[in-house]
Symmetry: C2
Subunit: 107 residues, 2 copies
């Protein structure tokens, strides 16, 4: 699986990846877990191929890293890379998503 090296991560791609509510919920879950989570743990209300697409967008934009551990595809946030490139960005987006979910009664 291809991952962009840190220097190739672009703000516009990261913002695009985060601009989808389903992808944002994956990122929020990973941020809360603070550990790698298996793809199979995410039960998104979309088809398997759409789920795979969302994870690919997150990976190709540099937001998450994906590795196989045995047969499980594990996902982790690229916090260190994102914080180095865009200090405070990930945190403020996560906070904004949490506040919006509370405000709209989704959480």
């Amino acid at each position: 699986m291809e991952h962009p090296p840190r220097d190739d991560i672009r703000l516009e791609a990261v913002l695009h990846a985060l601009s989808d509510p389903m992808r944002m919920s994956v990122v929020s879950t990973l941020a809360t877990a603070r550990e790698e989570l298996s793809c199979s743990l995410f039960d998104l209300p979309v088809s398997k191929s759409t789920t795979t697409h969302h994870f690919r967008v997150l990976r190709e934009s540099g937001v998450i890293q994906q590795v196989y551990r045995g047969t499980a595809k594990m996902n982790g946030l690229r916090r260190t890379d994102l914080d180095a490139l865009f200090p405070g960005l990930l945190e403020s987006v996560l906070t904004a998503a949490g506040r919006q979910a509370s405000r709209l009664g989704d959480a």
Copy 2:
């Protein structure tokens, strides 16, 4: 011109609006100016209709407000609304855009 009231502004729409480099450059310019700027001041390297489209996406997502002053269409950032809904988000995105532009030699 329609503008979403503050309560209808959604994080995903804001992130989508900011995920385009051309729109991000408009937002950065407005943030630096700290005043309303006329559309005609922005000389984007795209057609007039594409420029209009970008401004509409920014307006409909709640990132900017547009008002006619005489014959000029003036644009301003909705800083107060965005900061109230998503504290720190706009600032961290602006900082990230500035850092990336410096890093890539665009600024």
